[in-house]
Amino acid sequence: MTTDKSAPAGGSIMVVGGGISGLTTALEAAEVGYEVLLIEKEPSLGGRVSQLKQYFPKLCPPTCGLEINYKRVKDNPRIKVITMAEVEKVEGNAGNYTVEVKISPRYVNENCTACGECAKVCESEISNEFNFGMDRRKAAYLPHNMAFPMRYVMAPSMGADDREKCKEACKYDAIDFDMQEKTLDFKVGAIVWATGWKPYDAARIDNLGFGRYQNIITNMMLERMASLNGPTQGKILRPSDDKAPETIAFAQCAGSRDENHLPYCSYICCMASLKHATYLREQYPDAKIYIYYIDLRTPGRKYENFYSNLKKDENVFFIKGKVAEVGEESGTGNVTLVAEDTLSGEKIRQTVDMLVLATGMQPNASVDKPNADLKYNADGFIVNDFKKGGMFAAGCANKPADVVTSNQNATGMALKAIQTLVRR
């Protein structure tokens, strides 16, 4: 056995995606001594987890898990983080890749202290995609209050007027509109794709009325509303009139397990809706919650217990039957829905204040395929070809999963990436 503890010269590891899986892979690899390049498309790390109010299994707020990871990243000189960066092209083979990365200008440099003076003077606003467009934010914005790096971003759409004002307001000389888009080449030995997922576009599920009726929202929108840093400061309100909803229905498998949309089970939506029921029960003790499902999938002992506890709640009702038709009650904005209760064989027509679609996960890499020699399964997830090695997918780029599973998988892929380097 060799006693040399330093990393071999086989190069570094690139991790694409700075969500919970990418962070885990990057940290696990860096903390055993490997050089890691962490590439993130958004202006901040954190990914989907940062959009949640609480996450499984312990219903921790995202700050809990992300903060500690950010601290580890900060403390580790072997991790280099590049935000607003996207992989353009991957060439070469295991142990020897050349990756072309496009970096979009943030127009804000390292001097930024996130004091927020620029946002105060900026007048133009843009849609806030962090909140799924439910509100607007200044064109000079902090991605969110847990951003990493904690730095502002200037939207490219900002007009000359606002640019001038922002620049003037900044006391730290942090704003630089001369920044250009850059394309850089990196040489790495292994790549871990942690490109994650996005909520399936609910507007494509024609019979579920999203986009047609205001009070039909998606589960991720509910998550944002329930979050203190969300568009309603944590209050779950129905969009049409900001009323506190009294009856809320959940339509499970909205787009998942459906050949016309996502043919696979998105794994977490059942648990997500059960979790959302707890948010609602906490906020509105008298609200009635109706969960329409095909079959509830609560994998593992912990999730099954969670479900058993919720079943005892007399304000939460479970109806076995998929919501297949929706409408809107004229005047009230209430949502009407139709399903067949398959246990009684009766058609159910219900009117609720708000309908939440439990939409599933669509792998980002299937929508926006990286220009790299990757294999996908029929559902669009990246298949890990361990025989070929070199490139691996972690987390939801590989399969629909919760945070725990993603992290286990991400840790495994860190090891796989290390093995690629060591074998050369």
Partner: protein, 391 residues
């Protein structure tokens, strides 16, 4: 639902309906989207979700005598929204065909009609029969004339100066074939319906789909009267979305058959009561009806064939092609018979008439066994649903 029910899967039944176009049925995972998607399913125990689970478990007893399968018009709205591609519409169509097969007697004929390999025999029977009749007419004219004179009847219905099909196959012989055949069909249907009605009633009572405990014949007949306008206007058919274009084609075929039925009866009376043999003048309004109906039959069935060919998401099996092909052939040979006669091509028109007779025989004789039998079962089931207040 609380009563105990011993599940007795009939695997052969699953295979049977799979062969009739239900190959997708096992994909169903009972989400019940179909029951909601269906624009004509009732509120209480809607179909086709429960039929889908019964079909995949091989519960023949819950399907064959289930009136609901006949309320479905196979519009395809359920199949369109089905998240698994289980195509409930095609499954119900297959189950309906299995039901036709179950009720139709004698079994030997039912089995022959559903088997594509027996098709040559089904065609050969009338082909040989009409060949014999043609031989008798053409070769034995004098003998037959003498024979008929003994009873004071005129044998020949043909003329000498015009082309008349009666000179090829005697009208007497044609009617001696079809009148008993029609009677045979009516008897078979009557026997089948007796079982059918008692089965769908028992099923509806068992599943709580009716508020009637017995069948009152008068009330039931009144219900038939009530559903006829619905059928004639294709009201139920028109509620469908995915396949709505089919309604027009189906309506054309239905009215074509009604038109041709009227024409046939009028000319039957004209021939045997008023002793006026054909061919009849093109200026005769009855002839107009005949021509319009014939054209509607050809166009309607051609549209239906085109529809099935272009629908990639709908399964079409032999049961569908047999009947569509037959209806199209019936209309086409009928019109061609007339056109070739008017064109003065004697032997060609006789040949067309020969084909036409074979097509008619197939349609008539095998009516209770083919998909065409739906006209009897569907009307009955719709009437029963109306009678039993199925909503």
């Amino acid at each position: 639902m609380s009563e105990k029910y011993l599940v007795q899967p009939d695997l052969k039944f699953i295979d049977e309906i799979t062969g009739f176009g239900a190959e997708t049925l096992k994909k169903c995972f009972q989400c019940a989207t179909c029951s909601v998607a269906c624009p004509i399913a009732p509120e209480n125990s809607p179909f086709p979700r429960k039929e889908m689970i019964a079909a995949s478990w091989g519960l023949k007893d819950k399907l064959i005598g289930n009136g609901d399968i006949w309320l479905c018009h196979e519009c395809g709205d359920c199949s369109d929204l089905c998240p698994r591609g289980a195509r409930p519409g095609d499954v119900l169509s297959a189950v309906r065909y299995a039901a036709i097969n179950e009720y139709a007697q004698p079994k030997i004929l039912a089995n022959a009609v559903k088997d594509p390999q027996k098709l040559p025999f089904l065609i050969a029977i009338p082909a040989i029969w009409f060949a014999i009749l043609a031989y008798i007419t053409m070769a034995g004219g004098e003998t037959m004339t003498k024979l008929f004179h003994n009873f004071g009847l005129e044998w020949s219905h043909g003329g000498h100066d015009v082309i008349a099909h009666a000179n090829f196959v005697s009208t007497w012989l044609v009617d001696i074939t079809f009148v008993p055949l029609a009677a045979f069909v009516v008897i078979i249907f009557a026997l089948s319906l007796k079982n059918f009605i008692s089965d769908i009633h028992a099923n509806a009572v068992a599943e709580g789909k009716t508020d009637k405990t017995t069948i009152d014949p008068k009330g039931f007949l009144l219900a038939i009267k009530d559903v006829l306008p619905v059928i004639f206007k294709h009201d139920k058919f028109n509620e469908c979305e995915a396949n709505q274009d089919r309604a027009t084609a189906h309506m054309m075929v239905l009215y074509a058959f009604i038109g041709l039925f009227v024409v046939t009866n009028i000319f039957f009376v004209v021939l045997y009561i008023f002793h006026i043999p054909g061919p009849y003048s093109q200026l005769n309004p009855v002839k107009w009806l005949a021509n319009i109906s014939g054209a509607a039959l050809v166009i309607g069935s051609a549209l239906m064939i085109k529809n099935r060919l272009s629908k990639k998401d709908q399964v079409s099996s032999y049961k569908d092609w047999y009947i569509l092909g037959l209806v199209f052939a019936l209309g086409a040979t009928g019109l061609l018979t007339e056109m070739t006669r008017l064109a003065g091509s004697e032997y060609l028109t006789y040949f067309m008439y020969y084909l036409h007779l074979i097509a008619i025989f197939n349609l008539f004789a095998f009516l209770p066994f083919s998909k065409m039998a739906h006209l009897v079962y569907r009307v009955t089931a719709m009437a029963y649903a109306s009678y039993g207040n199925r909503k």
